[in-house]
């Protein structure tokens, strides 16, 4: 019996589509004019029907969980508190038939080829302008025409390596281009993420419906970008240049960088020397061959383009001119994003390619032409009038939604500088079913963004795309910024589809790499602080837990001697302020309790655990492309745990202690993941150094405070010391007595086998130091090594038994002196590391005097 026969036959989607209604006057992707399911959707819907609505609901929920766990997010500008929004993914895929796709594919390749040739002309001979085929305003009046890039010979003479088009389907079922993305085609990474989630929750339909895979497209992209390298090398270095984690699509940038195996860099990670681009790494400068950029055109080089840009690389354009680096897309390509070009594409296509434009653009009138301007003026109410240049910097409303005053103002602007505007017909977007939690499937306007990459044999189209869903029925916006959603896009194949993944490259002999010394210094810095903050949170949580456990409103008096060193340490670390109110706190347990809870939850307090969790998440974001998703998830959970709104802060001390247990577990999970999952490369090394250093500093501070207490040998206080130093169990396994001061301090300071002891931290640090790239080249110990050597020696020479004879003057003894020495020197060690490895000074422009 064949496999196909074994499966239940797909059923007609009766239950699924029972309440689904197409909207009037628009094309519906699923239902034809008679209300019958279209053929290419039948198989997919049938499979879903077989699964049943209850099962689908369960899977939709799983999809939401995947999105959250994978950390798929989208940043909303101007919303810093809740800046990161979870990605909105509707689990029902958008399906395109094989025949439909073939037509689209040919047309898109033609359009990309055409745009590439227009760009080449504008940045080269400008024949189109000189023969009057293109009005000069379209080039010269555009801020996106970057004059310094004119005449720059780009790699393979290709101006458009990556291209995306936004497509919409009109009521008659035809596809139209609503905008061309020629600069930075965003969203292919989100398309990939959507595919990952959707194919996981719908494995049966995905397998059975012959859906084209996306991996092949990305492999061609890798190959194509690698070929742009000017250097003859088997292993060209490609970097993805990001504007940074606050950019709206940062998630996607980190995701793509990791998927494609590129280093994710910011402008400050790169430097130009001798007209070549280099990456600043821990072990020096490493050549960069190709830059896949996500930084806008004019921000790429503050020397020659926008001089107030802090995102770019000074000297990049000169390096491009010298042919030493390739940038995809080359700066200047935003020129063709102007909707004004749409009015000229049919003519230019006939002229340049000798054929008719296969895919129409949405009807566009560029007001720089007299006849078009008068048409727009006469139809202002019906059209969508928007800036002809830089449409990405904010569109305008449709005429019909404007007030009379707004219309009058628009008419004045049109009269003064008509060439700055286009009028466009409004496209009635087609609809597709979207899962609505309560109403089942509802019709929502959708648009499709498709992606192309240039290869040696012309353009290739990604067989899929990013389907964007309007947030409401009107479909006025298809914008993630405005709360829209997305769908995976299934392009159907006529036959079975081979499984592909980016991980297999059988035809390519891979060069094996073991140790990477090429970590960008900025990332090393971030890893170091990730380690420090994780350990800081851990130590704070331990101290706070110890304080809360010993805190008893009924008998504060008796607990105070034990509580005091803990509170004092918390105070020294800036977590609580009790100094001025200390006496008051003694008799005012409510105030103390409130203070301790604030140290955990208060988002306004810079040192609270809540803020530590925020810092951790921020730092983890900065090293996102170098760490595992699990690591990210753990920190996300930690943040959720502590990120409760302050209004619900009626937590009892007991609840808070339980929550701190959870916090400590998450932090242990973080450390465990870092230990088990990260390769012992530089990133891990700096993370661990940060942890060790912070742990040593914190422990010194606490032990010093404990020794200043007159009751330092009180078993209750010694128990607290063991608890904070997480050494209770070790102590019990060695001594079956009540804690003794000399034994306790020996265990937490000197015991090399105790991974929580001071000496253990310092020895680990010394081991790491020996492996750092710059230290290994030195004949004499570096300043950092000197500090460590001295601290270790003093520790080793210390005799903890001396404590026993001190009789309450503990803080005058040798142990306390060593602790104080370490307390002074260890922060200097942090500075020494920063000076040697994290020195990445900012760029600035030198002032030029005005011409008097």
């Amino acid at each position: 019996m064949s496999e196909a026969a074994a499966r239940p036959k797909p059923r007609p989607p009766a239950e699924l589509l029972e309440s689904y209604r197409a909207l009037d006057g628009v094309f519906d992707e699923v239902l034809d004019a008679e209300g019958q399911p279209r053929a290419h959707y039948a198989a997919v819907l049938g499979e879903l029907e077989t699964l049943g609505v209850a099962e689908l609901k369960r899977r939709w929920e799983t999809a939401g969980r995947y999105v959250h766990e994978q950390g798929i997010t989208y940043n909303i500008y101007g919303d810093t508190r809740a800046m990161e929004r979870p990605w909105q993914l509707d689990p029902l895929p958008f399906v395109i038939s094989a025949a439909d796709w073939r037509t689209l594919e040919t047309a898109l390749i033609q359009r990309a080829t055409l745009i590439d040739q227009i760009l080449a002309d504008c940045y080269g001979p400008q024949e189109l302008l000189r023969t009057g085929r293109l009005p000069p305003a379209l080039v010269f009046a555009q801020a996106d025409f970057l004059r310094p890039c004119h005449g720059v010979k780009v790699a393979h003479d290709r101006h458009l390596h990556l291209y995306a088009a936004d497509l919409a389907r009109s009521p008659d079922g035809r596809w139209w281009v609503t905008s061309d993305r020629t600069q930075i085609p965003t969203g292919s990474g989100y398309a990939l993420a959507n595919r990952l989630v959707t194919s996981r929750i719908l494995p049966e339909p995905f397998r059975d419906c012959h859906v084209h895979r996306l991996a092949g497209f990305f492999r061609e992209m890798q190959a194509s970008l690698a070929q742009l390298a000017a250097r003859r090398t088997d292993n060209p270095r490609v970097v993805l240049l990001t504007p940074g984690p606050f950019n709206e699509t940062y998630f996607e940038q980190a995701y793509l960088a990791r998927y494609l195996g590129y280093t994710l860099v910011e402008g400050q990670d790169l430097t130009v020397r001798d007209d070549r681009v280099f990456l600043k790494t821990l072990s020096g400068l490493e050549p960069v061959d190709v830059i896949l950029r996500r930084v806008d055109d004019e921000f790429c080089d503050p020397l020659e383009l926008r001089n107030d840009s802090m995102l770019g690389v000074p000297g990049l354009v000169e390096a491009l001119r010298a042919g030493n680096v390739a940038v995809a897309n080359p700066p200047g390509s935003a020129l063709l994003q102007s909707p004004a070009f749409m009015a000229f594409l049919p003519g230019l296509c006939r002229h340049l390619l000798g054929e008719e434009l296969k895919l129409p653009s949405v009807a566009t009138w560029w007001c720089g032409q007299k006849s078009a301007a008068s048409y727009v003026r006469e139809h202002l109410e019906k059209l969508f009038v928007k800036p002809a240049f830089r449409p990405r910097l904010g569109g305008m409303k449709a005429g019909e939604t404007m007030t009379p005053e707004q219309l009058a103002a628009l008419r004045r602007r049109l009269a003064f500088q008509p060439h700055l505007f286009v009028g466009q017909e409004r496209v009635k977007l087609a609809t597709a079913p979207v899962w609505d939690g309560t109403a089942g499937l509802v019709a929502r306007p959708v648009g499709l963004r498709v992606y192309l990459v240039a290869t040696a044999d012309g353009y290739r189209v990604m067989p899929g795309g990013l389907t964007r869903v309007a947030p409401d029925e009107t479909g006025r916006f298809l914008s993630m910024q405005k709360g829209g959603g997305s769908k995976d896009t299934w392009v159907l194949s006529e036959g079975p589809v081979p499984d592909e993944t980016l991980l297999q490259t059988p035809e390519h002999r891979i060069q094996l790499h073991r140790v990477g010394n090429n970590l960008p210094s900025r990332l090393a810095d971030n890893f170091f602080w990730l380690g420090r903050y994780a350990e800081r949170a851990d130590a704070s949580a331990r101290l706070l837990r110890s304080a809360l456990l010993r805190f008893n409103p009924e008998r504060t008096g008796s607990a105070y001697p034990v509580l005091e060193p803990i509170l004092r340490t918390l105070e020294l670390q800036g977590l609580i302020t009790v100094d001025s109110r200390r006496l008051e706190l003694r008799g005012n347990p409510e105030a103390l309790e409130a203070e301790l809870l604030a140290a955990i939850f208060d988002p306004a307090r810079a040192t609270s655990l809540h803020r530590d969790a925020e810092q951790l998440l921020r730092l983890a974001m900065l090293v996102r492309d170098r760490t595992s998703n699990d690591l990210w998830r753990v920190l996300g959970r930690l943040h959720d745990l502590l990120g409760r709104p302050t209004t619900s802060l009626v937590v009892l001390a007991g609840d808070a202690a339980a929550l701190l247990n959870q916090v400590l577990l998450d932090l242990a999970a973080f450390r465990g993941l870092a230990m088990e999952n990260m390769t012992r490369a530089q990133g891990w090394r700096f993370l661990d150094m940060g942890c060790r250093l912070e742990r040593a500093i914190y422990l010194c501070s606490f032990l010093d405070c404990a020794l200043r207490s007159a009751e330092a040998d009180n078993p209750s206080l010694l128990e607290a010391v063991l608890e904070v130093a997480d050494s209770t169990l070790t102590y019990r396994s060695r001594y079956s007595l009540l804690p003794h001061i000399a034994a306790v301090y020996d265990l937490v300071m000197l015991d090399e086998t105790n991974p929580r002891s001071l000496l253990f931290q310092l020895q680990q640090l010394a081991r790491h130091f020996d492996e750092l790239p710059l230290e290994r080249q030195r004949a004499l110990p570096s300043p950092g090594q000197r500090i460590l050597l001295e601290c270790v020696t003093r520790l080793r020479l210390m005799d903890p038994l001396g404590l026993a004879g001190l009789q309450r003057n503990w803080h005058l003894g040798e142990v306390a002196r060593v602790l104080q020495h370490l307390g002074r020197e260890l922060p200097k060690l942090s500075d020494a590391i920063a000076v040697s490895y994290f020195a990445h000074s900012a760029i600035s422009r030198t002032g030029t005097a005005a011409q008097p």
């Binding site: 302008l129 000189r130 023969t131 009057g132 009005p135 000069p136 305003a137 010269f140 009046a141 801020a143 004059r147 310094p148 004119h150 005449g151 430097t271 130009v272 020397r273 001798d274 007209d275 503050p302 020397l303 020659e304 001089n307 000074p314 000297g315 000169e318 720089g368 032409q369 007299k370 004045r412 003064f416 500088q417 060439h419 000074s841 900012a842 760029i843 600035s844 422009r845 030198t846 002032g847 030029t848 005097a849 005005a850 011409q851 008097p852």
Partner: protein, 290 residues
């Protein structure tokens, strides 16, 4: 007229600069009325990378990069230039300004594409209705273009006060228009922006001006400064330069270095440094008639 011009720029940095990239537009152009005899550019410390090329507008630009630690940068440009006496234009004989402006409305004749790029907005010079309103007083109907520009040039000189502290390199034109104060850069931008607001091509010119010492006083070496003015494109004449700061048509005492859409295209020295902390810049120009 024969001139030797020395243009010295010195940067001093509070902290060492690790790497710096600079672009200098200090080499005078050769023009129909001006001949560059000699040019020398000295840069201290010696740049690791240094090259001269021509920018989009035909100006000579020197790119250089200093790749060793430094706390001081000195750039000295020495030029020997001969400026010839111009045949004076007769403003009254130029074409009516409306006809000239019409030539730069779509469709633009292919011969006028080069000047056309100076009609459009540029980073520091944008057309504004307020600027058009101000300019229109000098352009009654059928006014010959150059006569109108000459009148406008005079009005800018009369209505605006030279004030070296009122504005900075980045002061927007709206503010200059409102304050009625500024320096030559502001007045050149203002003139160009007003003409563009009427739909006429106007460009920004960077250069030097011979200064004459007061009667009986010796000429002070290094007391001069770089200068700037604007030029308008007049069909049948070509580009005609006006100096609103001094209320004159540009003549043999003006030396052209570079031109572009506005200051940002022709800034004499611009640079991006890594490190350096706070810095100071000193500029000295000496225009010596030979």
């Amino acid at each position: 007229m024969n001139y030797r011009i020395t243009h010295r720029t010195v940067y001093t940095y509070a902290q060492p600069v690790t790497v710096s990239h600079h672009a200098a537009r200090v080499k005078p152009r050769s023009t129909p009325t001006q001949e560059r005899k000699d040019f020398e550019l000295r840069i201290e410390p010696e740049p690791g990378v240094r090259k001269m090329r021509t920018d989009y507008f035909g100006n000579r630009v020197c790119f250089f990069s200093i790749q060793g630690l430094h706390t001081r940068l000195e750039i000295i440009a020495t030029s020997h230039v001969v400026v010839n006496e111009l045949t004076p234009v007769t403003p009254g004989l130029s074409m009516p300004w409306e006809a000239a402006a019409e030539l730069f409305r779509d469709p633009v004749a292919v011969e006028l594409i080069e000047p056309y790029q100076f009609v459009a907005d540029s980073p520091m010079v944008r057309a504004l209705p307020d600027l058009a309103d101000y300019a229109r007083e000098s352009f009654p109907a059928e006014t010959p273009l150059l006569a109108g520009v000459l009148a406008l040039n005079r009005r800018i000189h009369q209505d605006f006060r030279f004030d070296p502290v009122a504005t900075t390199v980045a002061t927007p034109l709206e503010e200059v228009l409102q304050k009625r104060r500024g320096v030559c850069q502001d007045f050149a931008h203002l003139g160009a922006a007003m003409l563009r607001s009427l739909g006429l091509p106007a460009r920004y010119v960077s250069g030097y001006l011979r200064t004459r010492p007061p009667e009986g006083k010796p000429r002070l070496v290094g007391a001069d400064a770089s200068h700037a003015w604007f030029a308008v494109y007049c069909p049948n004449h070509g580009w005609v330069d006006f100096d609103p700061t001094n209320d004159v048509l540009v003549g043999p005492e003006h030396i052209t270095v570079a031109y572009g859409r506005d200051f940002s295209d022709v800034s004499p020295v611009s640079g991006i440094i890594t490190g350096g902390g706070r810095h100071t810049v000193k500029v000295g120009v000496d225009v010596e008639p030979l």
